[in-house]
């Protein structure tokens, strides 16, 4: 079984050797005359700046990453299911249908909440819904 990975390993080794060999060859062949201007990270002629201060990284990226993980996990479960599908029969089909339906509920929820929208213009209805939710949570917490 492990022998099946030998070609992959050889391919990886060859790719690595190619990188090392070409970097080494180019370091032998190219002239090396560094100057401060050449070594500066080039950013459209601007002075390179550090991390943007004060600006907030949008939380939407996090939600998208979270969704990615959830549906990634769903797909992972589909894989062994598909491999042994014939042996599982109708029961397996129903099982997977229930599973997918439940995860789909989450998807519909996010869609309804506007989690898939990138424009900064929440509709008034959504805002009140979110506010209601937060109030509910505060009530539960306090």
């Amino acid at each position: 079984m492990l022998g099946d990975y030998l070609p992959v390993l050889i391919l990886g080794g060859l790719a690595f050797a190619f990188v090392v060999a070409s970097l080494f060859a180019s370091s032998l062949l190219r002239p090396s005359r560094p100057s401060p201007a050449k070594l500066a990270p080039y950013e459209c002629g601007n002075e390179p700046v550090r991390l943007p201060k004060g600006e907030k990284f949008s939380v939407k990226f996090y939600v998208v990453a979270m969704m990615f993980i959830i549906f990634d996990i769903e797909t992972i479960f589909l894989f062994p299911w598909a491999v042994s599908f014939r042996k599982l029969g109708l029961f397996g089909l129903v099982e997977m249908a229930v599973f997918i339906a439940l995860v789909f509920v989450a998807y519909v929820y996010i869609w309804m909440q506007g989690g898939l929208e990138w424009e900064q213009a929440p509709r008034p209805m959504e805002r009140t819904a979110a506010e209601g939710e937060q109030e509910e949570e505060l009530l539960r917490a306090g």
Binding site: L2, K60, I76, A130
Partner: protein, 166 residues
């Protein structure tokens, strides 16, 4: 030593070095990247042990998705940099706890391993076996997983909304 054992030693060494660098890194982003090394090595060790499905899932989910989530989390929270802010200066105690966990794990694993029979039969079609055991014997836990996924996603959206409005 067989080729498999050599592979294990190399993978375990790289994974251990990654793990040590992970907890001693001064920059959390670097720590997250060392986590990639360690998790990838754990996945490769699963492959070496013949657990193909688990190995690839480990790489796909942990290396591919969880670390991305960590990095997004770090970008969102603007995590501090430097030993003083990351380390709670309890290295001696941490070492003690780590050694205790190691001893516990070593004991449990060697206890669970059947040392008597020399020939362990490796399952060949691991993905199919995993599928059959999940979908025939562990039906309820499997359906519970979908509830957990649902809760995680809704929780993420609720927290994100709160963050956005602040």
């Amino acid at each position: 030593m067989t080729g498999q054992e050599y592979a294990f030693v190399v993978l375990a060494l790289v994974g251990t070095v990654g793990a040590v660098r992970l907890v001693t890194a001064k920059n959390v982003v670097h720590a997250a990247l060392y986590l990639v090394v360690t998790l990838a090595m754990v996945g490769s060790i699963y492959l070496v042990l013949g657990a193909e499905f688990v190995g690839w899932v480990q790489i796909l989910i942990y290396v591919g998705a969880i670390v991305i989530l960590f990095l997004f989390g770090l970008m969102l929270t603007k995590a501090p940099i430097g030993r003083e802010s990351l380390d709670n200066q309890q290295r001696g105690l941490a070492l003690l706890v780590a050694l205790a966990v190691l001893a516990g794990l070593v004991f449990l694993i060697q206890d669970a391993f059947h040392w008597g029979d020399r020939k362990m039969n490796l399952v060949h079609n691991t993905t199919g076996e995993v599928g059959r055991s999940i979908f025939q014997h562990y039906v309820l836990p499997f359906e519970a997983v979908s509830f957990i996924l649902l809760a995680a996603l809704i929780g993420a959206v609720v927290l994100a909304r709160r963050e956005e409005r602040e």
